[in-house]
Symmetry: C2
Subunit: 103 residues, 2 copies
């Protein structure tokens, strides 16, 4: 399982429109083969900042199945104009998972 | 529920020692009142980069219960010397959660 993570900085004043656009675009990414789940988190410390986290079955589910899809063209069109600067997207693998009741 | 997120950049060559130290230090944060869970993710794109994600019941569980604890002094001593530069820690609240089967 792969975690895609990106800190998104949205143009000042466009936060609410972005949030609505993100909700509307969510089915586009969720339709991808190898997609598991995603979430958008809103930053409490910095206005206009969000954290996008996407769980994929494999790296290629993101880099090929999604990024080379027609749905990604729509996703770009609907969301990319909100970002300033354009986000750095990175991929992670889980190393440690720990919860209240121990490892 | 609050998500604490920090991108950690570890000094070159110290990655394995850091990973072991992080595992060893995990019970220190997990003992905090209001702590739910945490994970350490290792970046596939950039060597030495990690993503720390911690779920807290409230913002104060992190900023007061943990940061003002004796455990945090130990946590700092065991982990902070690995980071270069020192990480920016931010807090997020969930806005959108979406999975394979819809919202």
């Amino acid at each position: 399982m792969i975690l895609e993570a990106a800190v998104l900085n949205v143009r000042s004043g466009a936060e609410q429109t972005f949030e609505e656009a993100f909700r509307a675009a969510s089915p586009l990414i969720a339709a991808t083969p190898g997609y598991i789940s995603h979430q958008l988190q809103r930053c409490l410390d910095t206005k206009g900042r969000y954290l996008l986290l996407v769980q994929w079955e494999t790296l290629e589910a993101h880099t090929i199945n999604f990024r080379q899809s027609a749905n990604f063209q729509q996703w770009k069109q609907q969301l990319h104009h909100f970002y300033d600067p354009f986000p750095v997207v990175e991929h992670y693998e889980s190393l440690v998972e720990f919860s209240h009741n121990g490892n």
